[in-house]
Amino acid sequence: MEHIRTTKVEQVKLLDRFSTSNKSLTGTLYLTATHLLFIDSHQKETWILHHHIALVEKLALTTSGCPLVIQCKNFRIVHFIVPRERDCHDIYNSLLQLSKQAKYEDLYAFSYNPKQNDSERLRGWQLVDLTEEYKRMGLPNSNWQLSDANRDYKICETYPRELYVPRIASKPIIVGSSKFRSKGRFPVLSYYHQNKEAAICRCSQPLSGFSARCLEDEHLLQAISKANPANRYMYVMDTRPRLNAMANRAAGKGYENEDNYSNIRFQFVGIENIHVMRSSLQKLLEVSGSRGLSVSDFYSGLEGAGWLRHIKAVTDAAIFLAKVLIEKDWISFGHKYSDRCGHLDGDPKEVSPVFTQFLECVWHLTEQFPQAFEFNEAFLLQIHEHIHSCQFGNFIGNCQKEREELKLKEKTYSLWPFLLHDQKKYFNPLYSSTSQKLAVLEPNTVSFNFKFWRNMYHQFDRTLHPRQSVFNIIMNMNEQNKQLQKDVKDLESQIKQHKNKQTDGVLTKELLNSVRPESPALKTSLCLKEQTLLPVKDALRTVEGSSPADNRYSEYADEFSKAEPAVVSSEYGVARMTC
């Protein structure tokens, strides 16, 4: 690789960002074509994928070395101190290059090879199938049909080939409508609720300007309205604040004029655009990343960042929709992404937290309804990890067309089979598929319910988290229960066999003798099984009592050992000199 000048640096220090006691790990830093790897003296490995790197900073030189700060898209922040400035500079430059690939072909997904043959790879891509998904919703039916209008991506580049539209909407109407919509994204079906005969459609803003109208577009919306016979009105939800929508009119865009569309109710939801979101998330991270944070700073920071406000706005909007529909399967294991990832800005180079936001909304739902989701928090975090990792083909490219051009299906692997392979890790042990109450979730969006998602934004700051995991223990218990129940069944059937033999009167002396020695053996095998089970459980349970040195009150340790030399902090508060 032409970008890599130094592949190995020794005696590098890794600082803990929340420990004020200046604690650090010393180890060796390796730079590979895809990863930055740090191995500390305890042989613990820290892998950082180049694609995950959002920002690399080289701070001013200190006496102990040259500080290098790396911020990742998965909210990991590492702080290295490299002894020699030259090495630091080399790594800094290499990372700058490696973390921002200009071409899609340089992405990790195109070089990643998990040792699968082609048919396995194909099966992986077929795991999630849009057509199947629509079939599950009961489509096509008498009101909705598959349209081939976008077969060659002529009408809309960013839509997939297969689109569902109202049966009565003809091709000219669709074409006409698409010309009236920003980027050609005319209204198409997104989700169909079979029982209620109601649909969610989506589209982009109309190019209405101040007065323009489009008859075809009006017809199409009318057709959609008719395709939902159960409801008298159709709701058009504009996800922007009204002000933004009005401002857009000056740019020739805008929003639908209510007078031109009959039987349609318009509603502004007030979700801010991606730029506001990005700066909001940025602020949140700044607050939560600062050292020596007081409770009060934290909450005024949370308030100032407004991130939770945005999360609430998004959830509120979804609930308004839910009044008409939304079923739990929509957000169930493996389904949602087929729909979502096709149209979200999964571009690895565009930093926009919309998807993060979506995941966070799902997380809030899982918090409120611990039994409604088949997957757990780890699953959400894993997906978030891979959105940015570019290790799998799923989230590369901006739209279906681009993805086909990139030949992703031939050149890269799909993420889903890998997640499925590890699915045990991602199952929610409390999931209950039968509970009627959870069929349609009715989330409560009272402000109390929105919390800071520590496991996401501090995923890698070990000291902030609970030291014992309820999830793991329950999963383990579930496993053991199954195993034990199987044992009980086995034993019972054996008893039955023996009893049958007895009553049949076939039980001779020899048979008895052959049975007798068997029984103790049987028992020992059972004991053995238990023994193999129990240690696992204990290992899980007696997890670290952790060390006080991990925590912030340990800074008072200075007061215990009073003869400590004075501590001078450099201007970045990074390296400390002892005089």
Binding site: F298, L308, Q371, V446, H465, R467, G545
Partner: protein
């Protein structure tokens, strides 16, 4: 005094609204000496609804036309609404509730009349924590003794009869040291940490006054502590006031230990909030939690503005500091503030939970509360006279015990497998500390409890809670003993609002309750299957 004098009406027809998720109850309303009853008739379920009048924190009445409405705000933070037929009846009932819910006398309170089936008086009062705990200490070290110098409560009215003190200090020296400490609370042993051989002590502030008085016996006592621990041991005095406040206390006769007078001891100041600011923080938080319509920003700013979580963080960090000093520095720790009955107990009891695996069991936790709160003289009757809804200006009220429970809850969240008791236990303790049919939290000190004969005339909360039918609500199904110290994270990101308490009624946690039920089921399934292995006789055919 007869209760009947205070009851102004026999009964009335009323409808009770218990919150957004609960169906209303209609029936006959009736006020008795200790309860408010609503009987919806024999067919209805439940056929009787009962509210302990003692648990009413504030009452508000409104009349319109020929009907009235009474809003009852309870000490457990519940808000109830009663729609009553008849103006006269409404006013009478309101007045009766008002009079009966604020009775001052202890011996006419409900615990003296409560006689539940299945419990016998005097049961579970066999807890004699100092004596019991002394047995544990005596197993490990010979440096301490059980002193009965306070047998008649003459040395210190807020201490129990027996206390654990250094073996080398005699009762006369204790008496002199008691005279040098506010309220007579001389330094006594609170916890012996066997792994490091160090001790945790608590006391009240020394009465140095502006002249910087000294007391030889008090100094001797603290020297004896260091000598008993191990040669060369150091000590730390954790003062729960700021250095400034400790200095100011001298003007009113108090003060803090002078460095020169106590060689080997070093003072650390960790200011903890107490008294009125803490009560106000509680009131503001409960107010914020009652508003369902507020915006995200408003909620966050109110959560920030009430400072409750800052108090939680401060309490936990101070306890961690004390625990760290014992476990890692091998030092002896003395904790005191001013009176030594509030934040002092908060710190010593939390430090024990962090260090001592035994105190994290059900029985150990009950003993800890009995020993470190009830017998140690936390004035429950004064502190818990009113909860967050009272209109009267707080005099002595402060939710110190609630703050302790919140800190324990935070510990439980960070170490979900290490506490044998669950959230249910903490909620029950909160409810009972403010209003209870049991006698455990009555009065302000052991002395008062003796005068009122609480032990012989009321039932103990512990015997109530330890009945098998109550246990499922109180225990943690996932508990497994953890022999290590549990060091919590005190970063603001790691602390959370205790929703189970502060939002218990406004925000019914139904889905999480169902999930909790499921956890129980999984855990008990395991015990069942593990226990149901075929017996020998079944697995071996009989010849």
């Amino acid at each position: 005094m007869e209760f009947s004098e205070l009851i102004r009406t026999g009964q009335a027809q009323a409808e009770l609204l218990r919150g957004p998720e609960m169906p209303p109850l209609r029936g006959t309303l009736c006020v008795t000496g200790h309860h408010l009853l609503l009987s919806p008739g024999p067919q209805a379920t439940p056929d009787l609804w009962l509210l302990l009048l003692r648990s009413v924190d504030s009452i508000e009445k409104r009349v319109a036309g020929d009907a009235g409405t009474i809003t009852l705000r309870c000490k457990d933070l519940r808000v109830l609404q009663l729609d009553i037929e008849g103006v006269e009846a409404t006013l009478d009932i309101a007045r009766s509730i008002e009079a009966l819910s604020s009775l001052e006398s202890v011996i006419t309170s409900f615990p003296f009349f409560y006689r539940p089936k299945g419990l016998r008086l005097g049961e579970s009062w066999h807890f004699h924590p100092p004596e019991r705990y002394y047995k544990r200490v005596a197993r490990e070290t010979r440096a301490w003794r059980l002193s009965e110098a306070n047998e008649d409560f003459s040395l210190c009215p807020s201490y129990p009869r027996a206390v654990i003190v250094p073996r080398t200090v005699d009762d006369d020296a204790l008496a002199r040291s008691a005279r040098f400490r506010q309220g007579g609370r001389f330094p006594v042993l609170s916890y012996y940490h066997a792994p490091s051989g160090t001790v945790l002590l608590r006391s009240s502030q020394p009465l140095t006054g502006p002249q910087k008085r000294r007391c030889a016996e008090d100094e001797e006592l603290l020297q004896a502590v260091l000598a008993g621990a191990r040669p060369g041991a150091r000590g730390f005095i954790v003062d729960t006031r700021s250095a400034q406040a400790a200095k100011q206390a001298r003007m009113t006769g108090g003060g803090t230990e002078a460095k020169s007078a106590y060689p080997g001891w070093k003072r650390l100041h960790r200011p903890l909030e107490r008294g009125r600011p803490l009560q106000e923080s509680f009131v503001h938080l409960v107010e914020a939690c009652g508003d369902l319509e507020q915006s995200m920003d408003r909620w966050l700013s109110r959560l920030d503005g009430c400072h409750w979580l800052s108090h939680v963080k401060a309490a936990l960090s101070t306890a961690c500091l004390a625990a760290q000093g014992m476990e890692w520095e091998g030092a002896c720790i003395l904790v005191h503030g001013a009176e030594g009955t509030d934040s002092t107990l908060l710190v010593t009891s939390l430090a024990q939970l962090i260090l001592d695996p035994l105190s994290r069991t059900m029985a150990g936790f009950q003993e800890l509360i009995e020993r470190e709160w009830i017998q140690a003289g936390h004035p429950f009757q004064l502190r818990c006279a009113h909860s967050a809804f009272s209109h009267t200006r707080p005099k002595h009220e402060a939710p110190i015990f609630l703050l302790f429970l919140d800190c324990v809850w935070q510990l439980g969240r960070q170490f979900p497998l290490s506490l044998e008791f669950g959230e249910g236990m903490l909620l029950a303790l909160f409810d009972h500390s403010y209003a209870s049919p049991f006698g455990t939290f009555l009065c302000n000190s052991e002395k008062e409890r003796c005068l009122c004969e609480v032990r012989t005339r009321t039932h103990s909360l512990w015997s109530g809670l330890n009945q098998p039918k109550e246990q499922r609500k109180l225990r943690n199904p996932l508990y497994a003993p953890n022999p290590l110290a549990i060091w919590p994270s005190v970063e603001p990101q790691s602390l959370r609002l205790w929703q189970g308490l502060f939002l218990r009624w406004t925000h019914p946690p139904e889905p999480s309750e169902v999930a909790w039920e499921k956890v129980w089921q999984i855990a008990t399934d395991q015990e069942k299957t593990e226990g149901s292995q075929p017996t020998d006789s079944a697995s071996e055919p009989q010849p």
